[in-house]
């Protein structure tokens, strides 16, 4: 998703762009996650600023791209089960509001006006009209095609080709990339390799500590619309911000235009292990049926796992790498890469074309971990 957005905005500003992926379009984490475009879960700070910018850009994209990307400005509903968590939420929402988020408190008696099937014993909640949803794989695919033939900017797509080296010039500046089918020359290379962004950075000789954080999503059989918003509990916000390796689950429940309800997602740091976690599924199912008792008899027909790309401070790496001229990074968006993609793409395009930046990007500096990380050993299982 992030690479597609970078290509789209760069081509729109008149650049010629080649997108290289070792797999298919949306074959990475983009095809293994969900498409929540959230502001509601973000603390005031640089990530929220990026999310608010993206929210606007997603609305613009929704007008340009075909309806098949399933963009829905459906809004989010964050609920609290007791008075204590409601108080935490209220404080959180007040701070968000000061940062520019639109949010409205909903009393417990009114919750079911918004979500008729919600459990009756909840203490209250907050409605976030800016939260939206998109189908990530379709969005990425259509974004890559959206530039089309008009104008000087073009997007060339090379799939099934792995980047195996970064070409550098005499003074260490980027000259292009190497793949099995040959060298490709370009003055700028954007690392949008998501969870594998650390490895691509290493090919360029720099360290970027991107790590995987696993998530499971449960998918139900198709249903008529029983869930209208993105609904989740107050605990979710704490889980998102947590640095813990342990399994955390607070289910976000949402309906999709195609019918199935998505329940996701768990968060845990277990490397790239995709073995099914029965405990993660149990918690997702229990939390979803706690929020929506009507889902009790509904079947989960599938589940899938993905690996969010995260950096130690939970912020993405966006911008030029001062260590290697011509190298830019756009990765490490953790559980928000779909939402944050348009703002990221805009920033990358502006840097390359020399235009002014829409916001301060210092917090996303790709070299901010320099000297802080211990040398890491890459485990050699199997490979």
């Amino acid at each position: 998703m992030v690479g597609a957005a970078c290509a789209y905005y760069a081509a729109r500003s008149g650049l010629s762009v080649t997108v290289i992926d070792r797999g298919a379009v949306a074959g990475g984490t983009t095809g293994a996650g969900e498409g929540n475009l959230l502001v509601s879960d973000k603390e005031p700070g640089p990530e929220l600023e990026l999310a608010l910018l993206s929210t606007r850009l997603w609305r613009e994209l929704a007008d340009v791209l075909p309806p098949r990307i399933e963009y829905e400005a459906k809004g989010g509903l964050v609920v609290a089960s007791g008075e204590a968590s409601l108080a935490v939420l209220r404080d959180f929402a007040a701070r968000q509001e000061r940062a520019g988020v639109r949010v409205r408190q909903i009393g417990s008696g009114r919750l079911r006006d918004l979500e008729p099937h919600l459990a009756e014993d909840l203490a209250g909640g907050f409605h976030y009209p800016q939260d939206a949803q998109v189908q990530p794989a379709l969005a990425a695919a259509h974004l890559l095609r959206a530039v089309g033939g008009h104008g000087p900017g073009r997007v060339f797509l090379r799939l099934g080709e792995e980047v195996t080296g970064i070409l550098k010039g005499a003074s260490g500046e980027v000259r292009g990339v190497r793949t099995a089918s040959g060298d490709l020359h370009a003055p700028y290379v954007v690392n949008a390799a998501g969870t594998w962004g650390g490895r691509l950075a290493r090919l360029a000789g720099v360290d970027l500590p991107v790590l995987p954080r696993r998530g499971f999503v449960l998918v139900t059989e198709p249903l008529p619309r029983v869930v209208r918003h993105k609904v989740y509990t107050a605990d979710y916000v704490a889980d998102v911000a947590s640095g813990s390796a342990a399994l955390q689950t607070s289910a976000v429940v949402e309906g999709t235009p195609a019918g199935p309800v998505l329940i996701g997602a768990s968060r845990e740091r277990v490397g790239f292990d995709r073995a099914l976690s029965v405990e993660a599924l149990r918690r997702l199912a229990a939390q979803a049926t706690r929020l929506f008792p009507v889902l009790a008899g509904v079947h989960a027909i599938r589940t899938y796992a993905g690996f969010r790309p995260y950096l130690p401070d939970h912020l993405p790496a966006i911008g030029s790498d001062p260590r290697v001229p011509g190298l830019l990074h756009a990765c490490g968006h953790e559980g928000a890469g779909i939402g944050l993609a348009p703002a990221t793409g805009t920033i990358v395009a502006r840097i390359v074309s020399g235009a002014g930046l829409p916001m301060d990007i210092t917090p996303f500096g790709p070299d901010r971990f320099e000297g802080t990380s211990q040398p890491r050993k890459e485990p050699r299982h199997g490979a």
């Binding site: 797999g23 298919a24 195609a258 790239f272 995709r274 099914l276 149990r282 009790a296 027909i301 899938y304």
Partner: protein, 515 residues
């Protein structure tokens, strides 16, 4: 011995830790379960079905009052033998158990937890767990379908499905049934249908049977296969059934049910020969293109697979039927399509191997019986491999599809939408086609359309992204309420805690991530 381990296991099958849990009570699972028991293990045997026998020895419920179910089976005596040994054993048979996942707890003594849903057919659906020191996966296969215009019309049924229906309920799909597709099962299906009173005007086989003549080596060492062919051949002749090779049903006619089919000749690549179509009247079509190993319980655990000669995936097994994950064995069609006899041999072999492992006894490979079973397995696997290659779908079958042909029936995705995802949107494999079109996302989870979608995704040329075995981490759908109420604590004697996993990048295979 009222206090023997197996007695306790029978009293509380969900609390005990069995030596072996066998999943699937077909030929392979039955042979494995009774062999392991006779070697001294405590064994639990789970199956979704209410009755043992699997796909091959399907038989009607007693209520139907069939006098001679064996009339539809050759080889009934082999089944009777296994059934007798099972009845004489203390194997705990857990019928009506739908296994949805298998979990492994690492440690010095790995333990397995088999999660199943039971009570699905009555009320009182509930989740259960069965614990074991080893697992034998014998979940068999399902039929491969290749779509073509009209295949969704009522009256079109799966060939193997028709056979299964006939065996379990003695129901015919129609009165005049064309049998089509590819693979040796077609002959069996046609002779059963004819024996049960249907008219079978034609068996339409897409490959040429001549291929068999080119592998006399393999046929010569598998004499019983020749005998089977002769039996079916004779039965077909007796009922006036004709066989047309290198042909396929390329269209189905009828307003709201089958009235006729178009049969076209195929070239070497299975492309229909222009103008060769002929209309054959019938009221049902039984169609199938061989079987696909049902391996998802194992692939979810990361078991290694091998690509079969017809482009599907089977579990990669060692000389003693163990998968690449220690403690997990497999037998029968899960390791590659090979028929009931091979499934029995492999089940028995696995039974001996598991017993040797769990008991820590002698080296099984030195046992004369084990070596004999291994020899028979090699011989039959060679034949099965040759047969699979012979009936592998040719690349030209995609020409049977027009853009309006529905490929994924659950999500109603047409061939045109899949071609568009590949040509226009950068899909290169079944997974991305699924993400972009929803083909394979429905109730059957791509079991019906998976093969077809993978082929269409590969487009005209060589696939840009190598295909990978399908993953279905939930082998069967599970109600959220059951999932949410699972007990995930460890069994009575708690195994060691899972090993801590490093937090850094893993093997490259993870790149083809997700669903």
């Amino acid at each position: 011995m009222p206090n023997s381990p197996s007695d306790r296991a029978a009293d509380d099958p969900y609390g005990a830790v069995h030596d072996l849990v066998v999943i699937g009570a077909g030929c392979a699972g039955l042979a494995g379960a009774v062999t392991a028991f006779e070697q001294g293990l405590s064994v639990a045997l789970l199956d979704t079905a209410g009755r043992i026998g699997g796909q091959f020895y399907r038989h009607p419920a007693p209520a139907i009052g069939a006098v001679r179910p064996e009339a539809l089976h050759h080889d009934w005596s082999a089944f009777a033998g296994l059934r007798h040994r099972l009845e004489a054993s203390d194997v705990v048979h857990l019928a009506g158990h739908h296994v949805w996942t298998v979990a492994r707890q690492d440690g010095a003594n790995p333990r397995w937890t088999v999660h199943a849903v039971t009570g699905v057919d009555g009320d009182g659906e509930r989740p259960v767990r069965v614990h074991a020191r080893a697992v034998l996966l014998a979940t068999g296969a399902y039929e491969r379908q290749l779509p073509f215009p009209g295949w969704t019309l009522p009256g079109v049924v799966g060939a193997a499905g028709a056979q299964a229906m006939l065996k379990s309920g003695l129901v015919l799909p129609g009165r005049r049934v064309v049998v089509a597709g590819s693979g040796p099962l077609l002959l069996a299906v046609a002779s059963s249908l004819a024996a049960a009173g249907a008219r079978v005007p034609l068996v339409v086989e897409a490959s040429g049977y001549l291929g068999y003549a080119r592998r006399p080596d393999v046929l010569a060492v598998n004499p019983q296969k020749l005998a089977e062919a002769v039996v079916h051949g004779a039965a077909l002749l007796r009922h006036g059934v004709r066989l047309r090779t290198r042909s396929a049903v390329t269209d189905v006619h009828g307003a709201d049910r089958v009235e006729a089919v178009t049969v076209s000749r195929l070239d070497r690549d299975w492309r229909p020969v222009q103008g060769s179509g002929r209309r054959i009247a019938c009221d049902a079509l039984a169609v199938g293109h061989g079987l696909v190993p049902q391996t998802e319980l194992a692939t979810s655990l990361g078991c290694a697979t091998r690509r079969t000669q017809d482009g599907t995936y089977a579990l990669a097994l060692d000389a003693l039927q163990q998968t690449s994950v220690p403690g997990l064995w497999a037998a029968g069609e899960t390791g590659g399509i090979g028929g009931a006899q091979l499934a029995r041999v492999e089940g028995e072999l696995a039974g001996f191997a598991v017993a040797a492992q769990v008991r820590g006894g002698h080296e099984p490979a030195r046992d004369g019986r084990v070596r004999e079973l291994q020899r028979r397995r090699e011989r039959m696997r060679a034949f099965a491999g040759a047969m699979t290659a012979m009936h592998a779908p040719g690349p030209g079958w995609v020409d049977w599809l027009d853009d309006a042909t529905e490929v994924c029936r659950c999500e109603e995705v047409r061939a045109g939408a899949i071609r568009e995802a590949v040509d226009e949107h950068g899909a290169r494999d079944a997974r991305t086609v699924k993400l972009l079109t929803r083909a394979g996302m429905g109730w059957c989870q791509g079991r019906v359309c998976g093969a077809a979608v993978a082929r269409l995704a590969a487009g005209g040329g060589a696939p840009a992204v190598p295909p990978s075995p399908e993953r279905r981490p939930l082998a069967v759908p599970v109600a959220l309420e059951l999932l949410g109420s699972l007990d995930t604590t460890a069994p009575t004697s708690s195994p060691a805690a899972p090993a801590q996993r490093p937090d850094t990048a893993g093997p490259d295979g993870a790149a083809t991530s997700g669903d």
